[in-house]
Assembly symmetry: T
Homo-oligomer: 71 residues x 12
């Protein structure tokens, strides 16, 4: 039996949306073990006056196993 | 880089829906720092036999920064 | 065993959205007993030419127990 | 025949969510005529460090008639 | 005033979907007190080559009171 | 021509979710004739302190023919 | 103050989807007064072996005023 | 590169839902060029006391190219 | 036991949306047997410069029985 | 690289919803290989005059690998 | 008080989805000032006969402040 | 008249989400002709213990014309 817990984070990056998701996963890995997967809920961005996207942001859910050792 | 975490709470109040949301945010502020925002997911209420709303309840998501100090 | 029935109403009020929901619940209490709760599905309003909201409207679901006495 | 146009706005207020919706409708009334109604899509807020909501925000759709005079 | 917190888990079981939800609730009860309710968000399963479901999985939200003792 | 009406109920049972849906259908059959079908909208449950589900609840829509005899 | 009640019906017709909606509204008018509007939730149909649609069906919500006479 | 803009309108007609959508598109064509397509978001109608639909209404999104000439 | 399979198609017609759905069903009947029903997921259309709808399109799901003969 | 295809089926059973899902998966396994998982989209049922559920039905998506052998 | 307006656009690009979103924002910046953010609603693409994506398209909402100067 | 069929696939790639979508389209092009477009339904990924995304996955719908040659 392996119960998984799901937490929601918002990652951001000045470079790309993939990088924003990666940052959210990396941050999650600092505080929880046994991460298994990520799902993107929403893509947003901050936009400067000239229309250039200067901050990529992604709402994600990160899943991690919580009770691997218990049968 | 500023990763944000999102938690879900249900606040309640005998007075109003705005108060219910405020109670949820105040409770969150007791246990987490750097709260940035709130989004209301759902408005419900308990209703007495005479049809009077005697408890206002609100499902909310509260967002807070988790890693401000790390570049 | 307590089966609950759910009906949908639209309440309105010239004063506020909370009052509109309260009116819907009060009207429901005129025709059904054992009301337990209310959930707001949608908030709308009529707006006058100057942009002032002159009628607050709320689509709600009202729940009430229908068979309390039967085990 | 009366065709209606729908625009989306985000209103805000330091006081309440109803006030935030009212501000959005008032702003719309500055630039368009024949406003008929408003629908709230989403309620959010900015929250200070102590958990107090210091800015109420509402995504709304405002509808207005565009061709009343044409049969 | 009773604020409730909501966490998301994925339970699994080789036996049935109800058992998968029960496992998620039991795991939650190991780490949090005052659990009040569960809502199922999604039912999935792993399927073997012969089409037999060999793992029942359920995404659930578990709610628990966080501040019962405070008025 | 056969017009069908749809009502919403919440059934519950201490035994299982299927039993909860069955209770809602049985209750509907006490007050309406020509029931044709049921659709489950939502599965929830009450959970005791030890994480055991002690009440299974299901929001359902029940459909029944209202005017079979009229061509 | 005018509270509106909303009921859900499924109309059908061998001729067209508009006729199916019209049949549902006509059936509603047999049992309730002060109907104000209809909203279509879903369009389905029965299809014969040759691919011809032989029954048009529409899930609709019909709204009617319930308390006109009360201020 | 061809950026498309999307506006939302509500068309109406005493005759049919297709006519209501057509009226919304025709109205859009009065004020914008390069219309490419329409999507129906919602079908509603006004209903008279006898249950007859006397006004067909359709929420639509109309898309039109805004910058065809720019590479 | 009768398992049903569901496929998704987009039908189109220069005449009407009902015709577009009918075309999708007729096309499905060319390649599969035992069609039972159709559900419309989405209504769109191509629009000419004058705002006239010149192509009606409908996303539909068509259902057909796949294993009638097996108990 | 492993691309997965997703098909939609409706399984049914006179016994239970789990059995209905199992029947859909078993039927899928008759015509496709490398099935990996199932997701339930919707639970419905046929109901007899006495309110007893006499047919359990489940809309499901079944996923299967289509190109395992290609890197 | 700062009311924000939201418009919907579809950007495209032969290179990538991020570029498609950037093109939509750049086009918006040609006609409106004070752009604050973008949200992606939908990712689609045109695909050539060999399966190669030859046009990346993104439905986006762009938000911009409309009345900053008015208190 | 051109009827379009829609199939659902899950593509994956160790490199990027765009590559995952491209792989799904390329796999579709192996078995069907006249592909016209792709829509992304969902972005997920497998994540290693260090939080690095090691597999990008995308649920997509691929559309292709099925009856071009028939008027």
């Amino acid at each position: 039996m392996a119960v998984v817990k799901v937490i929601e984070l918002v990652g951001d990056s000045p470079n790309s949306w993939e990088d924003a998701v990666q940052n959210a996963c990396r941050e999650a890995a600092r505080t929880v073990r046994n991460i298994t997967g990520v799902e993107v809920l929403n893509w947003t961005g901050n936009v400067g006056p000239d229309g250039r996207i200067d901050e990529y942001k992604a709402n994600v859910q990160v899943a991690f196993r919580v009770d691997e050792h218990r049968s």
